[in-house]
């Protein structure tokens, strides 16, 4: 039973209509800590702007008591939930209340990383050196030699490690504004705890960042001691391992300010693209399935993209898919492009109408997948790949043309001309050129050089094909 305290509901109806009794055991520290939080919230006048995140454990029912917005999340995750709340509600006061198993074990990474980011919430960490709600098991903060239901012979550092000193660990981080360890074992200590608690909430009220307060708290039930012996255990045993005191207080400093990011509108960010109509169904247009292949760095994927962009600009349905499945192994780069007069079905091209091969490996790998009536275009300096009967195999000296035109890396652009000259894509020349230019939008110097390669290849094709 707690006397009606500030910041609490009049009666704890979520527990049981009309009741004024809490669910805590006699001598438990949670009730005292709750009272301190409630008073501080009320005195600071922040109840209307506070969201309280409860843990799982004995304090799972914080929402029975605190008269503010309440959220109850999973075990160990209150710091992650509080991160979500405070990021969603900048400027509000967010409190995360967690026990030692919750914060120190299962949820340690979430708590530690939230502290490291300097999240805007107050984390109240209740250390009673034991899992209480689940039946008195060892916590990360259990003392050496302390008996629990899972350390019946006492915690052995060789087997179970040492009590986890959370304040000391958080104090290694740069971001926290405030870190203090207090105790609620007696009146003098409670007065100090109250000050620390209030400071942590003031930091939230003022939007300054992360504040952490650890409370050493008695658990007579699971320690199997009476309240007096429990208080003595906190003072005599726990304080030796977990010394009280302030580790950090930067509350007088101004809040850190994030670097500015340029602001934009959806229209400005996403509004650039293709004007003009969407693809139209055209039953007269023969679907064309392309495979572009080579090794990484030859611009095989970009070649496919230029064809796809040109097809889209020409009102065709189109899909582009980078290499998938086993093709990802063995040093190939490839992409499948489907250009169609109707909605594209499978974006994967297993039997291409047109194969463009820029490497010997790729040519050998894919040439046999082209069915009769199809075309294989390969870089002329490579040996002619074996193709099925009825497949046209064409050597195109793309590397030489690109080199002679002054841009050896633009062999892929020369191959684009082979497709155009043989009308294998069925797309208007101006759309192809526009797509080629657009593909170098980020490197304008390359636009002219690729145009030059395109023209050289075009001239070659005119004379030789």
């Amino acid at each position: 039973m707690i006397r009606k305290a500030k910041g609490f509901y009049e009666t704890f109806d979520r527990k049981e209509p009309g009741t004024k009794a809490t669910h805590y055991c006699p001598g438990c520290g949670h009730g005292i800590i709750h009272k301190l939080i409630g008073e501080a919230m009320a005195e600071l006048g922040i109840q209307d702007r506070t969201v309280f995140v409860s843990p799982v454990g004995c304090a799972a029912f914080c929402f029975h008591y605190f008269d503010c917005g309440n959220v109850a999340g999973p075990h160990g995750r209150a710091s992650a939930v509080a991160t979500g709340v405070s990021r969603a509600l900048p400027g509000k006061v967010v409190i995360s209340y967690q026990g030692d198993g919750d914060l120190g074990a299962i949820g340690f990474n979430n708590a530690f990383q939230a502290a490291n980011r300097g999240e805007h919430f107050a984390c109240f960490f209740v250390n009673n050196s034991i899992y209480a709600m689940t039946g008195g098991q060892m916590a990360p903060t259990t003392m050496l030699g302390q008996r629990t239901t899972t350390t019946p012979f006492g915690r052995d550092p060789v087997k179970e490690g040492y009590p986890l000193k959370v304040c000391e660990m958080l104090n290694q981080l740069d971001a926290p504004m405030f870190i203090e360890r207090v105790s609620v074992s007696d009146t003098k200590r409670i007065m100090q705890a109250k000050k620390a608690m209030r400071k942590a909430l003031e930091i939230q009220r003022d939007g300054k960042g992360y504040a952490f307060v650890e409370f050493l708290s008695p658990c007579p039930t699971n320690w199997r001691m009476d309240p007096v012996a429990s208080a003595r255990f906190v003072n005599d045993q726990m304080e030796k391992v977990f010394p009280l005191g302030n580790f950090r207080d930067r509350s007088a400093e101004p809040a850190p300010v994030a670097n500015p990011v340029p602001r934009s509108t959806i229209e400005e960010l996403l509004g650039k693209g293709h004007e003009g109509p969407a693809a139209k169904v055209d039953p007269g247009f023969k679907e064309r399935r392309f495979k572009f292949s080579g090794f990484g760095g030859q611009g095989v994927l970009s070649l496919g993209l230029v064809v796809a962009e040109a097809a889209g600009a020409s009102g065709r349905f189109v899909s582009w898919l980078p290499s998938y499945g086993p093709e990802q192994r063995g040093g190939y780069a490839s992409c499948s492009v489907v250009v169609s007069g109707k909605e594209v079905g499978s974006p994967a091209v297993d039997s291409p109408d047109v194969l463009v091969a820029m490497s010997q490996q790729a040519a050998e790998k894919f040439a046999a997948t082209v069915p009769a009536g199809g075309v294989v275009i390969h870089e002329a300096s490579l040996p002619e790949p074996k193709a099925r009967e009825g497949v046209r195999v064409m050597a195109f000296p793309a590397a030489r043309i690109a080199a002679e035109a002054g841009t050896p890396k633009a062999a892929n652009t020369a191959l684009l001309v082979a497709l155009t000259a043989l009308d294998l894509h069925g797309l208007p020349l101006e759309k192809v050129l526009a797509a080629l230019d657009a593909s170098f939008a980020a490197k304008p110097a390359l636009v002219e050089r690729n145009r030059k390669v395109f023209q050289a290849a075009f001239d070659w094709a005119k004379n030789n094909l």
Binding site: G73, P74, A278, S351
Partner: protein, 351 residues
Amino acid sequence: MRKFVKGNEAVAIGAVYAGCDTYFGYPITPASDIAHAVAEYFPQLGREHLQAECETGTINMIFGAASAGKLAMTASSGPGISLMQEGLSYLAGAQLPAVIVNVQRVGPGLGNIGPEQGDYNQAVKGGGHGNFHNIVLAPASVQEMCDLTIKAFEMAFKYRNPVVVLADAVLGQMMEFLQLPKMESPRPETSSWAVHGDADTRGNLVSSIYLDNELQERHNWMLQEKYASMEADALSESYKTGDAEIVLTGYGTCSRIARSAVDELRSQNVKAGLFHPLTLFPFPAKALNKAAKAGKLLAVELSNGQYRDDVLLHLDRKIDCDVELINRMGGNMMTVEDVVLRAREMLEARA
């Protein structure tokens, strides 16, 4: 306005137009491009993007942001989604709206980063603990990666329920033209249940705890009624099923392969059709049973029959219909030709 974009970027664009406020993520292939795009767009629009420490962090940050009534989402793939399952159960229990995109990769375990659909049961049957369902949407194109992300937020808030957008590595990595949405979605009203950190919502509680057995059971019955009511929002596409003697069925990338197979079969004078669900929960059972009148269903999937099993589950037992399966796993995909041959075999078996 149209843009030529990857499926993953289309998800991010959908999130922008849906009015998504907060994105929490953790990198994983093949879903990471979604976070890349969001990390670029969101801060410029005054919205929140945070790379979390892990997927358990991610899903609980979403729990927090959703509790605040905000539009919250994440995207991940198999292993990351597995880590989020506890959180999905809590979201469902607390009736919180959230969007989780799963760009499925290959499993079990680390598997590989190719396309597979092995997370079907995890998404559709619940995945986490307890008697709950996610709403599950299954895009099959870059356009649908955007449109169904927007739809996911609509349904998440309509039903106050987590929604999984179940894509795969092909859909995430492929590029197609995306018609941009015309405008941003209207914002949902949340003050009756969310905690905004203001006087209006000071009395609200977001929680999934009911210590009293009767209350918990009542809560569970209410959830089941809610799930049943979702049937009205089941979506599917039936393509050339009217006169079909065999209907191919699959979702996502498989529906695309099946569609090509239907066209090929039709060109061979085989009356084939396609039944393609867009919602996997609620499952479009009525439309399935209409298509099943063909008498032969061939499930096309990149998993071990998980989707086929659901087809069998939803099939009206009074309909005389054979259901068979063609599937690949491991990151492999069946070819259109494989599906055509399998369908022909199925038809010839009758003769």
